[in-house]
Amino acid sequence: MTTAIGAAPPDLGHLREMARRIRVEVIRSVNHARAGHIGGPLSAADILAVLYFHVLRIRPDHPAWPDRDRFILSKGHSSIGLYAAMALRGYFPVEELLTFDAARSRLQGHPDMTRLPGLDMSTGSLGMGISAAMGIALGARLTGRDVRAFVMLGDGECQEGEVWEAAMSAPRYGLDNLIAIVDANRLQQYGWPGDGPDGRIPPQREGELAAKWAAFGWRVLEVDGHDVGELVRILGQAVAGDGRPCVVIAHTVKGKGVSFMEGHYFWHTRAIKPEELSAAMAELGEPPPDVGGPATTEAGR
């Protein structure tokens, strides 16, 4: 675990299993905390698995390694998804996920870089992570470091003006070591009323995001955000820079992996009932939960 694994050939089965484990830990932790977000972490789980177990050049036992790739979760409300990926990757014990959202926990409701080693930026107010990632990509260039800055945004988050300030600015500096990934799960917390699912419509029109990023001078790639093989392939293209920053629009389903949570805005954040917990764990291939009990460990997998 001490060397970057970006160059290793991907074991897609392992990546899928890590994505499944992220989802399980998200459900378990949010249920235990009786707080936190669900839909967003579930839509991001496959992307996080591919990043943390294939793409990112990181050293979990040396989180401050200066030449590591950086990852910023600009959609900070999906923190539990990131924490689950980090725990499974070895940054801290998986059992610690049950401290999520508790007072004095390193696993704050939104990522706090002052508390948890391995977090490359504090986030939570939407729209900011991409500016910080741009600063990291620029800083890497200015200091001659081969560091790549990855940032994950939500599609709802792309309504923030700051996202487009950064989108306008980054191409001027030719930052092709800046890779933005939009977790385009087609739902935001509540959304505009309309004739979509549950009477709400998606954050953008079909094709709108790709057209906007392209118009701002970014290289635009699109991918099925739940197909780990495709994520490996497309993120591989994303890091092969052509002088422009790159955005990967990952088409996802909010609540992915638990049928009754998929595609419903109200699972953005919501308390899980005991029967829902059992059903969710069953769908994710986990044994019936001992509610509030200890998490399974990486070693016990």
């Binding site: 200066p66 950086r70 706090d112 870089m113 002052t114 490359d120 930026m121 504090s122 986030t123 939570g124 107010s125 729209g127 900011m128 991409i130 500016s131 910080a132 990632a133 741009m134 600063g135 990291i136 990509a137 620029l138 800083g139 890497a140 200015l142 200091t143 470091r145 560091v147 800055a149 003006g161 700051e162 300030e165 950064a166 306008m168 600015s169 001027r172």
Partner: protein, 317 residues
Amino acid sequence: MTLTTPLPTGRPMREIFGETVAELAAEDPRIYMLDGDVGSSTRADIFEKAHPDRYLQMGIAEQNMLGVAAGMATMGLVPFISTFVSFAVVRPLDQIRVLIAQPRLNVKITPSYAGLFTGQTGMSHIIVDDLAIMRSLPNMVCVAPADHVEARLALRWAAGYDGPCYVRLGRDATAQLFDDDHRFELGRALWIREGRDVTLVSTGAQTTRTVEAAELLAAEGISAGVLHVATVKPLDVEALVAAAERTDHVVTVEEHTILGGLGGAVAEVLSEHRPTRIHRIGLRDVDVESGPNAELLDLYGLSSERVAEQVRALVRA
């Protein structure tokens, strides 16, 4: 220290900003200038001329600029911010709060055009609550130098400090208070003159006018001490308590709203450590307007004469 008033005219702090950060950058390769498209006003252009490859135009997009600065700081660089106080403090306030202050990142927020002297621009560009806002942020050090000599020292101090700081600089030449042998020490207030009847506590360029007000009062037989608080956060509690013990009257004087700035800070400290009746001179709860500098000082009661007038009324009441 001995002073002759009226004080001689000094140099604009904004020129000192461009020059000093350029000097600092020659000594420290980590230093960069991030400009929100006002470099020809803030005199970041002086820096640009000296270090063209370390001047980064961020365009008219302050929220992104502060976020980029935070990211650069995590890469071990030291970004200085060039914009106006009005656009450095409130527009990107959330970015400063979440990305810089709370995580204690090493970003130097060093805008000019503080207070009333903004080149007759009016209410959008005159911000008089910046100290109140910035000092309420966790981990944020707030410095308001009195003149160009102290501005240079404060900027040099900021470059050597590892953490977020706010250095409030002025646009126009104001009086020169300090000689070249002046020393700046963070968190230390400085007695400019002693007084028996009243202590005037002042900050920023206003201190120069407060000193002149004290001289006017002296001519009338009122002995006014002046305590210059260049560091609004962290405050020099000891000096403030000493001021409250020395004279019956404590008066704060600031080119800023009386709500939450120096006056608010002094009131907080003295109410805890030595309850004292405090009078605050500054902008009341008013909406500001554009005008020539001298007219604005008169309008808001911050000229030497108007400060003296208010203090005289208080002491003789």
